[in-house]
Amino acid sequence: MGLFKVLKSLVIDSLDTITKGSKKYHIWMGALTLVILVGMYCYSIQLDEGLSVTGMTDRVSWGLYISNFTFLVGVAAAAVMLVMPTYILKDIDFKQAVLIGEGLAVAALVMCLAFIVADMGGPSVLWHMIPGIGVFNFPASMLTWDVIVLNGYLFINISIPFYILFRHYQGKEAKKKVYVPGAVLSVFWAVGIHLVTAFLYQGLQARPFWNNALLGPRFLASAFAAGPALIILVLGVIRSNTSFKIPNKTIKKIAMIVTVAAQINLIMLVSELFKEFYAPTHHSESAYYLFFGLHGKDALLSWIWTAIPMNVLATVILTFGKFRNNLKVLYFCCFLLFVAIWIEKGFGLIVPGFIPGPYGKIVEYLPTGIEVGVTLGIWALGAFIFTILAKTAIGIELGELKYKKKEKS
């Protein structure tokens, strides 16, 4: 089969590309590998001793892992913000960025799945969840919906860029007829993954902090701010380190998306704060705990009061076109926004859901070193995967990687 030959050659070529690079590249990859190994070591301890090595308890039963999972689903969903203008609205500006965006989505999804597995008490019996050989509680459990949408999204985001790159690798144009339906599907799917992840929390009547109708829309808004913000930062790095051309126009367009999403996100935050604090009820206690502390327990205070000003500052600066179009300011704002939303939507959302407990008991949560180690390891894994994907994609797009038809050697 000719296709298999091309595939083999592609794999060999990309292996060749990803193992060669500047000194900086090797240091980067080496450092990531080291962090991954440390993370794996930490995880081995967790496997051996059980989840008791984490800071989680019966009172706060989800922590850093689920927080990062929630945030990263948003990052993955954000790829759609690039896909839609490129493939559907036919805005040519994004073409270069979209492959990067989809690569980012793949890396983010791999991290999501890794965080889920890290959070499981029995990773060895996860086959219980596989339909057919296990019992898949679909459609009752939102978690099964999440499993479907995440894996489906992962499949879409691997197959579309792979098809395009595979064609380009052979020196052919990718056929629109083939990939555009997939791209359209991925747009809806991306909204789906984030909405379903929000429903995971939103559907719990036991946790009033999560059980509000705004959670889903707010997830989307914050995702479409934080995700593209990360893409801008990544594009900036790629621009300065490779000869891959990304015009300013593209970055500015993405900046526009970030700005609008951040503004909407801020409006929703105000709405949420108004509801919790204008006429506080028994259900506002979690919000009180998050923003002001309860009965002297205030572990999250410094975090949330770092996040809110960062969020507001970045949104305000981005609102003014003059600042937004200055790339240095833009990068700074994107960084602020990314960190702010990571805090807000990470443990700013998950941990207060459990505090105070069902009977008002306030037990605080602090991640342990091992938990942090595993988390860093998974982030490094994501960065590692993304670097490999991006390097191959850029190589193909630049024409450095090309299938040589009549090569004998």
Partner: protein, 378 residues
């Protein structure tokens, strides 16, 4: 194994291997098991195949393995090897007979077989009665092999026309916590993490049911002055939010209203814990340990059998007792008579009398969970 299993058993070629080596399906190569032979004969076989199998069954390993392999090519860990070495030295000295080492070997094979079947067994909820029985038998045998002691694990199903309910008399409870310790002992809960299904909340008189200011972890003489006590545990809701969210149906509501968990099917995602509005569920953050002499050996598969690390557990209204017509341990242990348990469908039961004659209420009724656990006062 029955033909209509509802779960999947991974076929890693072990069965084929055992056919060619002639040992039977139970993993016992010493020939004490003859079920396999009958099965084999019942199958339709060609003459050649039958001859092959008959030879296998008769001489088995010996045809293929030479003496060296039989003695040395045996998989064992260092400890086993050391034991065997010592044992053979002793045999040499005529101190013990060789049969001990043979039984030891067959035991470890059976253990491995049990572990294998345990790893790939199905969801208890979907098992037939026979499958439940054999699962339970396997667990009992496993315990016997490992500790040399016998336990009794029941797989008794819910009885018809039974719906369990519970009532708690707030006026009577004095906070002695006998229920808590009885529960821990009855249900084999992890002693290290001091896991408790029941929480007793100490509340101040005159403040109403103010859980926020209640203390559920007190260490002082009770009843404390100007205080009253209220116990919470799993309420076995009729519309349990924890059941719907489980991605693998490892937790469900039984016919008699008990909300139970298949500990071995649970994947440990703790979604049910987040979904429970009553703090009714507990997680094994590390390997649960109960000293051997404190293990309650009267167990139920869905109740107090030993758990492992990384799975959920919770109050089952002592399914191992209640399905035998006994009261749960907490009810029996309560010195004040504050706890009442019974069949809601039996119009002569005490619980029905309480529901009909007392002003009863339930916690967080607005959530629509319909707990089968009522509070009342004298």
């Amino acid at each position: 194994m029955s033909e209509n299993k509802k779960w999947f058993t991974l076929d890693l070629g072990l069965n084929k291997k055992s056919k060619s080596s002639g040992s039977c399906g139970c993993g016992n190569s010493e020939g004490s098991c003859n079920s396999r032979m009958q099965e084999v004969k019942e199958e339709e076989l060609s003459a050649d195949e039958f001859y092959e199998r008959a030879v296998n069954a008769a001489i088995g390993d010996e045809r293929k393995k030479d003496g060296f392999e039989q003695v040395f090519d045996v998989k064992m860990d260092r400890r086993d090897a050391f034991k065997k070495l010592t044992a053979s030295l002793l045999i040499g000295a005529g101190a013990v007979s060789s049969c001990t080492s043979i039984t030891k070997d067959s035991d470890s094979k059976e253990k491995a077989q049990i572990d294998w079947e345990e790893q790939f067994k199905g969801n208890y909820k979907l098992m037939t009665n026979d499958e439940k029985k054999s699962t339970v038998d396997r667990l009992m045998r496993s315990y016997e092999l490992r500790t040399g002691k016998n336990i009794n694990i029941s797989s008794k199903n819910a009885e018809e026309d039974v719906l369990f309910g519970y009532a708690f008399n707030i006026s009577k409870c004095q906070g002695y916590m006998n229920c808590v310790s009885a529960c821990v002992e009855e249900n084999n809960q992890d002693r290290n993490s001091q896991m408790q299904y029941i929480r007793i909340h100490e509340m101040k008189d005159g403040k109403g049911f103010n859980f926020n200011e209640a203390d559920d972890n007190y260490y002082h003489e009770v009843p404390a002055e100007d205080h009253f006590y209220m116990g919470t545990q799993c309420y076995h809701c009729d519309n349990p939010p924890c059941v719907d969210v489980c991605p693998v149906q490892a937790t469900w509501k039984e016919e008699d209203g008990l909300v139970v968990i298949d500990y071995d099917w649970c994947v440990g995602c703790r979604y049910c814990m987040a979904a429970c509005p009553y703090d009714g569920r507990r997680f094994n953050w590390s390997k649960p340990e109960v000293p051997e002499n404190e293990v309650n050996k009267n167990q139920h598969y869905l109740g107090n059998r030993m758990r492992k690390k990384g799975v959920m557990e919770k109050c089952t209204f002592c399914v191992q007792r209640s399905r035998k017509g006994k009261n749960p341990a907490c009810v029996e242990a309560c010195p004040t008579g504050a706890r009442i348990f019974g069949n809601l469908l039996d119009s002569n039961s005490t619980i029905r009398w309480v529901l009909e004659n007392k002003k009863v209420f339930r916690l967080k009724e607005d959530l629509g969970t319909e707990p089968k656990f009522w509070y009342f006062m004298d």
